[in-house]
Amino acid sequence: MTHSTRIDKTFASLKAKGRSALVTFITAGDPDLETSKKILDGLPAAGADVIELGMPFSDPMADGPAIQASSLRALNAGQCMKKTLAMVAEFRKRNPDTPIVLMGYYNPIYVYPAGKFLDDAVKAGVDGLIVVDVPPEADDELCLPARDRGLNFIRLATPTTDDKRLPAVLTNTSGFLYYVSITGITGAAAPEVNSVHSQIARIKKATKLPVAVGFGVKTPEQVGALAKGADGVVVGSALVTAIKESLDADGRATGKTVPAVLDLVKCLSAPLRTV
C-alpha cells in the first residue's frame, strides 16, 4: 500500500508525541442503535485514538461471555450489517480523523456478499478490518480485495504464532498488528505484562508495523503498564461490561449507559495522556 491511511497517520502522529494509542472496542448496536451511536460519537473526546466497531454475529467463537452477550444484545435490538455501515457513515460526517476498524467474523461479510461489503465499507469511511476467522491461508478471499480498495487488513498474532508462523501473519497485514496477549478468548485472564513485552519485542524485530496489544485488559494500571512496550492497547470486554451494568432490569439503556462507557474510556486513557 503506497498511500497513508487514517490508521497509519494516527499511529505516526502518536509516535511523534511519544505515546501509545488507546484502541476501544464496542459492538455496533449494543444495547440499541441510538445509544450505540451516542457512545461512538463520544469515544474520541473521551480518549479513544482508534475505534474497533464490532459487527455483531450470532456465533462469536473467539469471544468470551461479555462480548457474546454484547453481540446478542445488538442482534436482539435489530442490528444488521447495513445498519452498522450506516452508523460508520454518519460518524464519519462528524469526525473526519478517528480511524474506524470493523471487527467481527466472516459469515455476515460473506453473505453480504464480500465484494459489495468492501465497496460499501470504503464508501462509509471504514479504515480497516479485523476478521477473526479468515487466516492468511485465505488471503485471496478478503484480505487482498480489501487491500486493493485501500482498506487496512489487520491481523492477529498470538502466543502460538512462533517465528516460523510469524511471516505468514505479517505478509499482507497493514495498519497495525493486533497482538493477542493470551491463548484464549476475549475478556479472559489478565495478561502477564513482562511476557507480553518480550513477545512484542520479538514481533517488532520482524515488522515495522505498530503493534497493539489486547485481550484481558481491564484497568488503567494494565493500560499504563502494557503501553510501555506497545504502540497501542486495546480494551473491549471492560467497555461492553460497563454497558451491561448500566442497563435497567429489562435490559434497556438508561441515562447512565453513555456516560458509563465514556467515563471508563477517560479513566483508561489517562495513563497514556500523562506520558
Binding site: 456465533d59 467463537m61 466472516y106 455476515p108 479468515v134 491461508e137
Partner: protein
Amino acid sequence: MATTKKKTAEKKLNTYRGGPDDRGHFGLYGGRFVAETLMPLILDLERAYNEAKADPEFHAAMAYLHKHYSGRPSPLYHAERLTNELGGAKIYFKRDELNHTGSHKINNCLGQILLARRMGKTRIIAETGAGQHGVAVATVCAKFDMPCEIYMGATDVERQAPNVARMKLLGAKLNPVTSGAMTLKDAMNEALRDWVTNVRDTYYIIGTAAGPHPYPAMVRDFQSIIGNEVREQMMEAEGRLPDTLVACIGGGSNAIGLFHPFLDDEGVKIYGVEAGGHGIDVPNGHAASMTGGSPGVLHGNRTYLLQNEDGQILEGHSISAGLDYPGVGPEHSWLKDSGRVTYVPATDKEALAALQLCTRMEGIIPALEPAHALAWVTKLAPTLPKDNLLVMNLCGRGDKDLFTVAKHLGLKI
C-alpha cells in the same frame, strides 16, 4: 508428455473421491476458517494425520480395536419383512448401531484418540448433541486413561439424560453450555473457545465430518470403514455392488462414511436424508441445511448453513438432537452442487412413523437419526424394481430416544 498431463487432469475432474485439495477445499466448500491461535495447531494436526495415514502401525492399531473393542465388521442385514412390506427394492441395513457404544461415532473416536496420543496431547475435549459422540469420546478416553471434557448444550443435557449419565459414569467432565439456544452449535462454539484457551496440551475430537481442514477429510476417512465393509459384504451376499445407498445427514459423518467408497461407481444412486423437522416451509422449523439453507462460513469451514439474510446463524429444529445442527460437512455441500448425491428431507412425523415400522417389522429400534433415512426408504423402495439392492446405514440404536419417542407417541414410561 503434454498428452499424459492432460489425461491426468481429465481423470482428476472425473473422480468424486479426489478432495479435498491441499488447502482443504472441496470445490467452493471446506477450508480453514479459524482464529490465528488455532492455525499453527491445525497445521500440526494435518501433518500428524498425514504421517499416521502413511504408517502401517497406525492402521494395525485401528484394525485391532475395530475387531476386538467395537466389534467390527458390523453385519449387513437383509431386512426381509420390510422389503416385502414395501414391495420394491431389496433392503439391506448396515448395522452400525451394533458397534460398541451404540452408533458409528466410535469409528471416528478410535482413530482420533490414537492420533491425539501420537501427537503427545494429554487432554481431550469434544462437543456433543444427542450425546452419542460424547459417549464414544468418553469411552475411548476411559480406555486410554485420558482426562476428557465434553461440551453439551443445556437443552440437550435435559433431553438426553441417559447419555449424560453414561458420560459421567465413564469419567468425563460434562460442561452444560448455556449460551445461544443451548444445543449442538453452541456446544461447538464453547469447545472451540476451550481449545483456543488450552491449545498447547488439548486435542479436540470433532464428532462429525465438518470443521476446519483436516477434520472433514479425516473423519470421513475414519468413517469410510462403513462403506468399505458394505462393498465387500455386498459382493459376498449378492456378487455385485449395491444400486442404491441411503443415510441420514446431520453433520453427515455416517453418510460420508457409507458414500465415499462408492462415489466413483456410476451405477450407484446415493441419497442423503436431512432433518425436515416440522417441514421445509416452516421458517426455522427444520435442520435441512442443504435443502433449505445457503452457503456460508461457520465452525471453520464453508458449507451450506441455516442462516438469515444478514448471515446470522439460525438454530433449526429436529426431533432428533443428533441432526439438530445448522450446518453440514463441506464434502456433502460439494456433492450436492456437483449432483453426485441427492439430498432430500424427512420430517419429524415421517421419522417417528419409520421408527415404529422398523421396530415392529424387524425387531430393531433405530435411533431417531437413521429413522429419517428409513423414512425416505419407505418412499423410495416401492418405486424401485425388486432386483434393486438398497443399503441403508442404520447408524445408531434407539435406546437413547425412548423418552422422546414415548412423549411423542403418548406412551407412559
